[in-house]
């Protein structure tokens, strides 16, 4: 069908996807954005930054240079670096909206021009995961826990800090380990590190992480360290295939579902609605809670298509 009869016909949008093409915490966002673009007849141009904040800023500059109708940015670099650039975009009438990490200051300034937000609240998401772990695993004061996160990555590390904070608040003894660049790129390398930690701390009761692929390798580490399903309470993030398997086998207790698909779909909708009707920015927390094995079961067909 000619796209001209669709609502967003003739519009172009640059979209910051976050990681790299096909990385588990990027793909659903990409599928969501593509589905929305197709439905609304808008031209979508994707950018990938490997989660590097400075690259996100660079790519925003490049998007700006192409003078599209809308640009979706991610909040990782923070309000400050974006401030002058977004001001420039707004001056040119480009609709800018944010995803994944909120940019409250910019939202306040430009909500009327369609600056919205679709994503989690990182710290809060971490706390939510922690709360679910404590509940599901009956974790008590003094229990030993490991929080294995991307602490060295500035804002992206906030979810892990939230998780650690949540566990500490409940009186657990929390060790933190930083996910190195190598492990970040190749999470299979996390296995011996976790085995080493578990062996070092045999009394460990809980493991948390907010890195999607590291989550999916926790079951393997537990098997190798000789732990049985459920023996250690595990809280993770996202729904990579191995994570789903882990949830089903009960090696993973809970996982924060960010609903990445929505993080892709909604900003595109925002763009069209603002451009066509002048609607203001909407603010959606896509990660209201965690999933367990039972819940995942029924979502499976969709997850296989990358819709989660």
């Amino acid at each position: 069908a000619p796209s001209s009869d669709k609502l967003g016909a003739g519009l172009t949008m640059y979209f910051q996807m976050g990681g790299s093409p096909g990385d588990g915490s990027t793909l659903p966002r990409e599928i969501g954005a593509k589905d929305a673009a197709k439905a609304l007849g808008i031209k979508l141009i994707e950018q990938y930054s490997n989660w590097q904040p400075e690259t996100m800023v660079t790519q925003f500059r490049q998007a700006l240079a192409a003078k599209p109708d809308c640009i979706e940015i991610m909040g990782h670099p923070g309000n400050k670096p974006f401030m002058p650039l977004v001001a420039e975009a707004e001056k040119q009438g480009i609709v800018v909206t944010a995803g994944n990490v909120p940019l409250p200051k910019l939202e306040d300034l430009y909500r009327a021009n369609g600056f919205g937000y679709a994503g989690t609240y990182l710290f809060k998401g971490g706390e939510t995961t922690a709360a679910a772990m404590i509940k599901a695993g009956n974790l008590k004061k003094g229990d030993v826990a490991l929080e294995y996160g991307v602490f060295a990555e500035g804002i992206r590390g906030l979810s892990d800090k939230g998780l650690a904070h949540g566990l500490k608040k409940a009186g657990l003894k929390v060790y933190t380990l930083n996910i190195s660049d190598q492990v970040n790129a190749d999470p299979a390398l996390a296995v011996p590190i976790m085995v080493a930690f578990i062996e070092r701390h045999p009394d460990i009761k809980a493991i948390g992480t907010q890195q999607g692929l590291v989550t999916s390798f926790i079951p393997q580490a537990l098997k190798e360290a000789g732990k049985k399903p459920g023996q250690i309470t595990v809280g993770g993030i996202d729904l990579a295939p191995a994570t789903i398997a882990g949830l089903k086998s009960n090696y993973i207790t809970v996982t924060l579902n960010q609903q990445l698909y929505l993080q892709g779909f909604l900003p595109v909708m925002q763009c069209v609605l603002t451009k066509k009707f002048g609607l203001e920015g909407m603010n959606t927390n896509t990660a209201a809670g965690t999933d367990s094995g039972a819940m995942v079961e029924k979502m499976l067909p969709l997850i296989k298509k990358g819709i989660y």
């Binding site: 093409p21 990385d23 660049d181 000789g226 990579a240 295939p241």
Partner: protein, 341 residues
């Protein structure tokens, strides 16, 4: 004329060369490290599970390092192996799922890797593009192809649990992960290729001086194409091991191995300049690189300090290696520092 000068030490055979075990210095470094880990983290390193997990996770990286050892011996480099891991892993996963034929998948993965290798080899040997730059380019291309083909999707291969291929490539034998045996097997084969086969000798001469290699009658074009093809095929095999080990394929797999696999080769004592290489060195280099992080975590170092300590131990290991390998250098260094004072 007096014949005293004849009495000067002039050993007929170099006794050191004969007595010298290949890779001895790095083997010593390896055991020093293990000793340190046992000392600082006895609860972890005196038990089997940590070794078991090393034997599962190190093999794919080790197989890459072994292939790279040949490449570097020939004075070349290959930076495209992470792309091979991505593409071959996909081929394996795809064929396995679509046709339910994992052995065919293994073949496809190896053939895919070899294809990448042939293209690299052609561009390097025939067109004459330096390998360090062209393999960056082909690496973009093929990992892009992998993403396009897979649609960026991850796959689980749970269905392979309990199958023959899983048992043979990634099961256990006498309680030891079979990956370890495969890696050892590849190491032995690569050792024989490099040190005992005509092909390996040709690689060494090409790495020593391409001009000399040509003059002594080595077909430098054909041998280098063969070399990159072999490297690609080994990458394909490593990709299957990795995918089987995780029983899942994800499109970013292999990306983190670039530096580690190279570091394993160089820490093992192979020279960047080609012409000499040690397979034993790369073998133990891969073990060292593969266990550094976990070993340091096991000693109880936590938080941000892990990376600092990894860096320190890494540098110390390299310095120790140099010191054992060539004590003269250290003595010379002492003399130099001393004479300045």
């Amino acid at each position: 004329m007096s014949d005293t000068p004849l009495k000067q030490p002039a050993p007929a055979l170099n006794p050191r060369a004969a007595a010298k075990l290949e890779g001895l210095p790095i083997i010593i470094v390896f055991f020093v490290l293990i000793g340190l880990f046992v000392g600082f983290a006895p609860t972890v390193f005196l038990h089997w599970p940590i070794y078991n997990s090393f034997l599962v996770t190190i093999p794919p990286m080790m197989i890459l390092s072994l292939g790279l050892t040949l490449v570097i011996a020939a004075g070349e480099i290959d930076l495209s192996f992470p792309a091979v891991i991505a593409l071959s892993g996909f081929l394996f996963a795809h064929v396995t799922r679509t046709y339910d034929a994992p052995w065919l998948g293994l073949l496809a993965a190896i053939a895919g890797g070899a294809l990448i290798g042939v293209v690299n080899g052609f561009l390097i040997a025939v067109i004459g593009i330096p390998s360090i730059i062209i393999t960056i380019g082909t690496s973009f291309f093929w990992s892009g192809i992998a993403t396009v083909l897979s649609g960026g999707m991850s796959y689980t291969l749970e269905r392979l649990t309990g199958t023959a291929i899983n048992g043979i490539l990634s099961g256990t034998v006498l309680g030891i992960p079979s990956e370890a045996f495969w890696a050892l097997g590849v190491a032995v084969v690569v050792w024989f290729i490099l040190n005992r086969h005509r092909f390996g000798e040709h690689l060494l001469f090409i790495g020593d001086s391409r001009e000399v290699a040509r003059v002594v009658g080595i077909n430098t074009l054909r041998e280098r194409i063969k070399l990159f093809t072999l490297m690609g095929a080994l990458g394909g095999f490593a990709a299957v091991l990795l995918t089987l080990e995780n029983l899942s394929y994800f499109p970013t797999q292999g990306q983190g191995m670039l530096l580690s696999a190279l570091a394993a080769v160089f820490i093992g004592g192979t020279s960047v300049f080609g012409g000499t290489a040690t397979v034993v060195g790369s073998f133990f280099g891969a073990l060292i690189i593969g266990m550094l992080d976990a070993g340091i975590v096991a000693t109880g170092v936590a938080g941000f300090w892990v990376e600092v300590i990894v860096g320190l131990v890494f540098v110390a290991a390299v310095v120790l290696h140099i010191g054992i390998d060539d004590p003269a250098r250290i003595r010379q260094l002492q003399r130099r520092l001393f004479s300045k004072a």
